[in-house]
């Protein structure tokens, strides 16, 4: 169990590296594959709450380090109404919230129905992006949602969701190599059938 948890942390860190090689698809509404969030969401459903929260902290912390932009600068008398940015650390809470959402269907995953989790990872990515965009609107004032933004969120979620079976396959392989079962109910059912 500890070995498996440790490897999921390493997988999450490795996803930060792979993310550097995944550019935005300009032809598909600037959508992208959000591998870091996907690895976190898939891992979240296979571990207990303490490990999930640790993953959420690491994921959110480094994601904010990756994305945060600097202060405006310039003369405050000229730029009196400066545009606010997202505060460093907000992603930690968003990652945590999405992790709890994924844990909500952990019983189904434990029964071996990983497909539901794969589908939910797409929904969770959409909710994550929607929440991020809503926070931007909240801190900057005025709610503006263009069709381009909506399409960007939809296609990013869909593209990312397509990769969730691969991440689950990887997690199953890791669990097997660690002699750890991430869906024990399914294993029990199989044994009953034999």
């Amino acid at each position: 169990m500890i070995r498996y948890s440790f490897i999921t942390i390493l997988l999450l860190l490795a996803s930060f590296v792979v993310q550097q090689f995944l550019p935005a698809f300009t032809g598909i509404h600037q959508s992208r594959i959000m591998l870091i969030q996907l690895v976190f969401l898939c891992s979240a459903v296979t571990v207990g709450p303490p490990t999930m929260l640790l993953l959420a902290f690491i994921g959110g912390f480094f994601w904010d380090a990756h994305c945060a932009i600097g202060p405006h600068g310039g003369d405050p008398e000229v730029y009196a109404q400066q545009v606010e940015s997202l505060r460093f650390g907000y992603s930690i809470l968003l990652f945590g919230a999405m992790g709890f959402l994924m844990q909500g269907i952990q019983p189904l995953f434990k029964q071996g129905k990983w497909q539901f989790s794969a589908f939910l990872s797409g929904i969770a990515i959409f909710l994550y992006l929607a929440a991020e965009y809503a926070i931007i609107n909240f801190v900057r004032g005025d709610f503006i949602l263009s069709q381009a933004t909506f399409m960007q969120m939809v296609f990013t979620s869909l593209l990312t969701m397509l990769f969730s079976p691969f991440v689950f396959w990887l997690l199953f392989r890791v669990a097997k190599s660690c002699d750890h079962s991430i869906n024990p109910d399914a294993g029990r059912k199989r044994r009953h059938a034999y």
């Binding site: 300009t26 600037q30 303490p50 000229v78 400066q82 650390g89 965009y133 931007i136």
Partner: protein
């Protein structure tokens, strides 16, 4: 709730609050550490992205490029002749200035750089360029292309020859701007949620009776301490009259979808 889960939740919330309360300087230090660790992968990622874009561009426009190359070659020959004449005139001008004890009128020191990565984050309009601290670049410096203002330097990747540029199309990149042939000044910035192609910019805080018409050019005022004066920003596309002030939509002069070479302004003495 199990005690272990409760402890984990409290630790998690404590960690989140700690992260929230970090100062800008501490955040920059965290980012420096993060990007230092990512440095080899960033380089490879940027290289791959640049190569992929170049390949796609080449396959799409190979015929057009051939024609363009021929035109550029002949234009280059013509410009070389003009340049040699220009150099002579510059030397002559310098001699005259020296003779008259004139001070140099302007000094505009720029560093050329290539765009190596586009939009590495979800919501912010940024690009990475292949010039950094080693070439004297610091944060909050203006970035230009031969068409006009591109944006400003937002972050320097420590010990790497690269930096991040916040584009003019981002809502957070505000520029003090004036409209040519009118007393109107305002703040120009990008619009939220406009990512496709060449989005329009918004010029805010104009007077209610602003006599503006489409086609008028918009320039930087030079106020605010970041951007030098008289840099072209774009042309007015339309004007929206409000009760308290007016706003204008501005078509940027720079083609942001096709950014290649940019210039970072190191210093510009008036």
């Amino acid at each position: 709730m199990k005690p272990l889960n409760l402890i984990a939740l409290l630790l998690f919330l404590g960690g989140a609050v700690w992260a929230f309360t970090q100062s800008d300087r501490a955040v920059r230090e965290v980012q420096d550490l993060y990007f230092s660790a990512m440095s080899p992968f960033l380089k490879s990622g940027s290289k791959m992205e640049t190569q992929a874009r170049a390949f796609l561009h080449e396959t799409r426009h190979s015929k057009a490029l051939e024609i363009e190359l021929e035109t550029v070659r002949s234009e280059l020959g013509r410009l070389r002749i003009i340049e040699s004449r220009y150099r002579e005139l510059e030397l002559e001008n310098e001699r005259f200035r020296h003779a008259l004890d004139y001070k140099k009128a302007t000094h505009f020191d720029v560093v050329p750089a290539q765009v190596i990565r586009r939009q590495p984050t979800t919501w912010w309009q940024t690009v990475d360029i292949d010039a950094g601290q080693e070439r004297g670049i610091g944060t909050q410096l203006a970035v230009l292309s031969n068409e006009g203002l591109v944006g400003k330097i937002d972050r320097i990747y420590k010990d790497q020859n690269r930096s991040s540029v916040l584009l003019l199309t981002d809502e957070k990149c505000q520029v003090s701007a004036r409209v040519e042939g009118s007393p109107e000044v305002g703040i120009l910035s990008g619009q939220r949620g406009r990512f496709d192609g060449n989005p329009l910019l918004r010029l805010k805080f104009l007077s209610t009776d602003a006599a503006l018409r489409p086609g008028l050019r918009v320039f930087t005022t030079g106020r605010g301490g970041i951007f030098q004066p008289n840099i072209l920003l774009g042309t007015i596309d339309s004007v929206e009259k409000g009760a308290l002030d007016s706003e204008a939509l501005v078509r940027p002069s720079v083609n942001f979808a096709d950014l290649g070479t940019v210039f970072v302004v190191l210093s510009a003495d008036p």
